[in-house]
Amino acid sequence: MTEEKKKRPPAGPFITTQFNTLLGWARKFSLFHYPFVTACCGMEYMSAACAHFDIDRFGAGWTRFSPRQSDMLLVVGTITQKEAPVLRTVYDQMTEPKWVIAFGTCAVSGGIYDNYAVVQGIDQIIPVDVYIPGCPPRPETVLDGLLKLQEKIQHQDHDWRWKKKRS
């Protein structure tokens, strides 16, 4: 690099960034979510999605009921043994990149239902990115969990299409 080029400030209004950061920034504010609503937490999910708390302010307002169009899986509520294969199928149908939020104590660990019917935490079935505690979590907690996920996405090593796959 010549001396001259080093000195000169960049011409025109542009910013420098890493492609990874840019992708993370774009992805974290355009989360289409699939609400896998099974139980009580669904009520608080509805509250979080509606006018009072408005999850749309954080770029996750768009609910998609097709797993193929969504990139954030919200597992809202208790997952029973009977439901487990359904959850696995829905997760498998989602395209990369995808993130999972365990919403509420039942999804996190089975909660107060430690018995024959309930799976003790959805991480026994699918990988989870963010755990939101609470039975059910307040909408504020949900939004906080969403921010945590966005932070995680921002700093993730993104796997873009033309990046070489490690064998």
Partner: protein, 441 residues
């Protein structure tokens, strides 16, 4: 595994699967449809995706500590579930509940009932495409939940109604917040009436769709707003009055045809009646015998002081942090020491209180109803919410069974949608108000 409908289906028909994770199957339920074009020839409803072993788990919990499980049955109106369970136990024990607590219970259950109906109709309207209605109703629900939260400390799963009374007295600002919530709800109801009652799209999808006759409704064990939409006037609050419902002035709205629209309309009218009940109850509630205590001794200080002498000052320790707990007990909890948790300031500062506390919570002690079985029902959001409890004289229920109102209603779904179009499944299912926690337990 082949289901019944897969085995029976004709060669020339199509099978369509809805659920268990489907936008219109809020909650988890699976409907398999056998279709001839758009028309439903047969269907099979599969439930149990939210079977959480409620009844079995309760056999392993004490009468006191299983209360939070009842919150999560019908999670849209948890307070009524609390009430149903608690009143069943009170029937076994023969507990007298103070009048103020009874009024508080009425207030809380009616607030829950409105939020239940709001949620049901919001979901139903949204699935028919009326998203505005959904947002309006959720807004009203938030105001109601503010009232509940302020007093009980939780938005949904409150465990507020306890054996012998309620957990805490009403918040000092209760009246003001309630007034605002009632006003907001009235506005929303008015708006929704305007949006839906004469809406062509909504009417086409609900009027004369999924008609239930009176005889069938009774044969299916329907109760609640769904039964009343067919014209049968049965409301547990009127038929077997509990609490102070017989002292209040209100009507039971009835439908005529028993179709989806009637189920919608009955719920709408019932919310207005509930608001009436709330206003009357709030006006007539007996005053607390003791005013609110602004300040008291901090718990840590009280414990320290109790080591030297008996603490005579009030202690700021009540659940709503408004002052002494013990002073409120006569207004909101039964006087019998055996059935209610001893006040915390006694537990912390006196040896008798500590013994009482341990006796209440120790394994094998606590609340022990006499041997026998009992059935008691209250009017839940969906209808007759009954608890059948068998006691063997120990501190845990031998068997606890819930008569879930929506179980009976959902069991008729197959009959209601037979011969209709696929699109009719959505409003029909929406108007039933299926609640997974209650249905599958």
């Amino acid at each position: 595994m082949p289901t019944r409908i897969q085995k029976q289906a004709r060669q020339d028909t199509m099978l369509l699967n809805m659920g268990p994770s489907h936008p219109a199957m809020h909650g988890t339920i699976r409907v398999m449809l056998e279709l001839d074009g758009e028309r439903i020839l047969n269907s099979e409803v599969e439930v149990g995706y939210l079977h959480r072993g409620f009844e079995k788990t309760c056999e392993h919990r004490t009468y006191f500590s299983l209360l939070p499980y009842t919150d999560r049955l019908n999670y849209v109106s948890p307070l009524i579930n609390n009430l149903g369970y608690v009143m069943t136990i009170e029937k076994m024990l023969g507990v007298e509940v103070p009048e103020r607590a009874q009024y508080i219970r009425v207030l809380m259950s009616e607030l829950s009932r409105i939020s239940d109906h709001l949620t049901c109709l919001a979901a139903m309207a949204m699935e028919c495409g009326a998203f505005t209605v959904f947002l309006y109703k959720m807004k009203a629900r938030e105001f109601l939940w503010d009232v509940i939260e302020q007093t009980t400390g939780a938005r949904m799963t409150t465990s507020y109604i306890r054996i012998g009374g309620v957990r805490a007295d009403l918040h000092p600002d209760f009246d003001a917040v309630l007034k605002k919530a009632v006003e907001e709800t009235r506005l929303v109801l008015k708006d929704v009436h305007g949006l839906l009652d004469k809406n062509k799209i909504f009417l086409n999808r609900t009027r004369d769709v999924a008609v239930m006759s009176r005889e069938d409704a009774v044969a299916f064990g329907w109760t609640g707003p769904c039964l009343r939409s067919t014209g049968v006037s049965y409301d547990v609050r009127k038929a077997q009055p509990y609490l102070v419902y017989d002292r209040l002035n209100w009507d039971v709205p009835l439908g005529e045809r028993g179709d989806n629209f009637d189920r919608y309309l009955v719920r709408m009218k019932e919310m207005e009646q509930s608001l009436r009940i709330i206003e009357q109850a709030a006006a007539r509630i007996p005053e607390s015998s003791r005013g609110f205590i602004a300040e008291g001794m901090a718990p840590a200080q009280a414990i320290k002081e109790s080591r030297r002498q008996r603490v005579r000052k009030d202690i700021a320790l009540s659940p709503n942090l408004e002052g002494s707990e013990e002073a409120r007990y006569p207004d909101i909890l039964a006087s019998d020491k055996g059935f209610v948790v001893p006040p915390k300031e006694e537990t912390y500062t006196s040896i008798e209180g500590l013994i009482n506390h341990f006796k209440f919570f120790m394994r094998g002690h606590g609340i022990r109803p006499p041997k026998g079985d009992v059935y008691f029902a209250v009017e839940g959001g969906n209808g007759e919410l009954g608890f059948y409890i068998v006691s063997d004289g120990t501190d845990r229920p031998y068997r606890l069974h819930l008569r879930a109102p929506c179980f009976h209603i959902v069991s008729s779904l197959e009959q209601l949608i037979r011969g209709r179009y696929v699109a009719d499944v959505i409003p029909t299912f929406g108007s039933m108000n299926m609640i997974g926690g209650e249905l599958d337990r």
